[in-house]
């Protein structure tokens, strides 16, 4: 556990890191970025919390069981979206042309439109959830293990 200044700053900063991560995830189909990158940004916030507070402290609010379930559900959403197109072909982009995320942008350079991309934004969200939960579970588990704490099954 570090000094009070560090902890206070970390408390304030985590919000911005989370928002930035979510922005990167949500705009993955328009700007550089995507699920993996945004998830990694969020995990960097978790690592910051881990440094500022101790792993023991963090364990109270961030349980590994929850993280595991979050990760599994992210993976399930991803593979479920892939399965949803199996009426035609596995991984068929079935949302293009429908009201949800279905608009097709004009060919060539142009301003982005958030309601485009078919299932890509949804997959970005699923992957972001998965990466954030999974990598934070890894970091947390390593910190807990090296400090001799018990890790949940």
């Amino acid at each position: 556990m570090l000094s009070k200044i560090v902890r206070t700053v970390a408390n304030q900063l985590i919000l911005f890191i989370l928002i930035f991560g979510l922005y990167v995830i949500a705009h993955g189909h328009l700007t550089p970025g995507g699920g993996f990158q945004g998830g990694a940004v969020i995990v960097s916030g978790v690592v910051m919390l881990l440094v500022a507070f101790s792993s023991k402290e963090l364990k109270k609010s961030l349980r590994e069981r929850t993280l595991s379930i979050m990760e599994s559900s992210g993976a399930l959403i991803f593979i479920g979206l892939a399965f949803a197109g199996i009426g035609i072909v596995f991984f068929y982009n079935f949302l293009v042309g429908t009201p949800i995320f279905g608009r097709i942008p004009a060919t060539g350079p142009g301003p982005g439109d958030i309601w485009t991309g078919g299932f890509i934004p949804l997959m970005n969200l699923a992957v972001g959830l998965k990466v954030a939960a999974g990598l934070s579970a890894v970091v947390l588990a390593m910190a807990l293990f090296s400090s001799g704490e018990e890790i949940e099954e």
Binding site: P32, G108, G110, P111, M142
Partner: protein
């Protein structure tokens, strides 16, 4: 358009990174250094992949407010992204195992921490 580069410097750099990592893999006995060597090998391969897709004077392949001009190839970038994530996963697992090896044997040296031979 950029000038033509006579030597393929990025490819050369990738090959040299691979060479450096091979040097580490052969000569460094410390397990953490070994893992660093694998990370450098991964960087070399990733640099090679991403350099394959560069087109002289190209823009990033994102249509949102892109200036006029050719675009660099998107597929190598996607491959690099995949490869980076794979390497993160592998490194996490390797580091975990090194932690456990250190717990069991009290040594990070690849010769002293080995139990099996022959």
């Amino acid at each position: 358009m950029m000038e033509y580069i006579p030597l393929n410097f990025p490819f050369l750099a990738a090959a040299l990174l691979v060479g450096i990592s091979f040097y580490i893999l052969i000569f460094k006995r410390n397990l953490i250094k070994l893992i660093m060597g694998i990370a450098i090998l991964a960087s070399g391969v990733n640099l090679f992949l991403v350099a394959l897709g560069y087109r002289a004077g190209g823009n990033a392949p994102i249509y949102t407010d892109v200036p006029e001009g050719p675009m660099v190839l998107p597929v190598p970038q996607a491959l690099t992204l995949t490869s980076i994530v794979i390497n993160v996963a592998v490194l996490a697992l390797m580091l975990t195992m090194v932690i456990l090896i250190y717990r069991h044997t009290g040594s990070l040296d690849s010769e002293k921490s080995r139990k099996m031979k022959g």
